[in-house]
Symmetry: C2
Amino acid sequence: MASLKSQQFGEFDLINTYFLRNSSAISAPNQEGVNVLLGIGDDCALLAPPPKDHIIAVTSDMLVENRHFFSDADPKLLGHKCLAVNLSDLAAMGAKPTAFTLSIALTHINHDWLAAFSEGLHVISDRFDCPLIGGDTTSGPLTISITAIGHLPKNTALKRSNAVVGDDIWVSGEVGDARYVLGILRGEWPTIAGYENFSHRMNAPEPRVDLGIALRGLAHAAVDISDGLLGDLQHILKASHCNAVIQIDQVPVSALFNTLGQDLRRLCSLRGGDDYELCFTAPTRHAAQIEAIGRNLNLRLTKIGQITEAMKDVDSANTSTHQFGRMHLIDQEGNSLNDTQTQIYLKSFDHFETS
Amino acid sequence: MASLKSQQFGEFDLINTYFLRNSSAISAPNQEGVNVLLGIGDDCALLAPPPKDHIIAVTSDMLVENRHFFSDADPKLLGHKCLAVNLSDLAAMGAKPTAFTLSIALTHINHDWLAAFSEGLHVISDRFDCPLIGGDTTSGPLTISITAIGHLPKNTALKRSNAVVGDDIWVSGEVGDARYVLGILRGEWPTIAGYENFSHRMNAPEPRVDLGIALRGLAHAAVDISDGLLGDLQHILKASHCNAVIQIDQVPVSALFNTLGQDLRRLCSLRGGDDYELCFTAPTRHAAQIEAIGRNLNLRLTKIGQITEAMKDVDSANTSTHQFGRMHLIDQEGNSLNDTQTQIYLKSFDHFETS
């Protein structure tokens, strides 16, 4: 086998060189710790059970070249982002990361690309104490598929179905930057000076893991904003059988929008995705505690609206049905947006819709 | 949203129609049960912790069009196979399947293909009580990525590093059919009458989950044969720091090889992959119990060799080193194969090697 390996860089060499850490031997599993009983190098990885009275959270995301990232994307940022989007899903459930698997298809072996990609991946993996425990490598069109596993105390999950009428609706950080930067790169709107200072919001989103964990027992429902604030919030409304009223001009945006018009600000902040902030609902009595969490984490937390009852529709046969997932959008003058305007901001990015 | 949906078949329609079962509502998670606390439809799926004194096994496999399957592959068989290869990894660790996630990139929405693919997937999912709990769908070159989760009692894992000198080496079922059928389809060798009766071995492999579970406490190490019997066995030898002697003509093959020559039989059975049988090692004192398991499962189990000590090499400076992973191949006349012959049979399929 030695002669083969010296001639060719195979699958095992690839895993050893870029993904297996602190070990030079193919056969020696590493990255073992409290949670990881057996890492890369066997048919399965082995994990210890979660702590007592905890349950397990599992999430998967797939990133495809030219669909989720440009071909010339910085590989180090890409390595960060592909794990960040999965950690963001764990955060939206209130779960603490345990470990992840990576399956990756590569068109060819590009050592510079792999060194940078794996570095980006390992840095965020270390930062969130979420080791790579296994996966698959193959040749094929560049596709990155990650499954992240986490754990959380039972009965604390921030499920989409948990929102309650009267809950405040909160958003973490600021939303819209990622969509605005994407629009510049796509030529949808003109570039502006200094926009590069905000491109990390699209390229290197920060998963709100600490926030998700801190919200256990305080928030009812949460979702991470990947497809657009209102579209993602609508998942909560539908799952919880309720509606919402949103003060759209209270939605927090960055300084990037200071000199931009109202329309673009609303479009990017309400409909834009890829910011990976959390949108969550919580009873008003917890508002002070939530504000304290924001101060502790040095993270802006903004109330943008409230959960309301599902509207009762009575049809011609006098049968009443409840309509879930409706949003009543109110601007800074206190005026309600009409249905057409509302639909524009509601439309999320869908990977199979063509418009 | 209703008007959008009637015009376009989006990501949520796709999940609802083909992957979410026994439910017509997007928001209602289903497939909940003893293990699954929350299925498809939230940021994460939620699983109950494993049974007392059990640990968690995790495995991921990615299948790429034209690399792991032909473009015209029967989608129902493909749905079976993409879960089967992951269950096979759980089997090789002695784990019982718990649940799985599916991330899939599709070039376009083909309803016939999706209906057949999801049917194949659901049938094997039901048969092994391993529900689909989440994942991702996106557009992109056809790529299927599955992560399967299982559980097993602690200290029973059939780790590759557990083989012990003196262990018998066993193979389940028969090996070589999948490689022989692939060779016909690729034009590597002539077709023969009746080969179609064996093509399910390539297209619809049977994961040996019950065998893996039955071997807990009896076998030491196991691997599933995906890349080739000897190449996969070599992973055990390297991880366990030992060597092996193999009676190559005792390797079990099907009736397909009755009329074929010895060379092709050896090539397909020793080097061919994709059969997803188990190769495992066990102390000789457990042979009778292992034979009984074979009878109970109606599955041929064949002893093909033995684990031996690592050879000690003494170099010119009189320093001794142990060489792991060497195989001594013996034919039916009791003759040893030379190094060149051995290397031919040892070479596994590697997705990044070009030869």
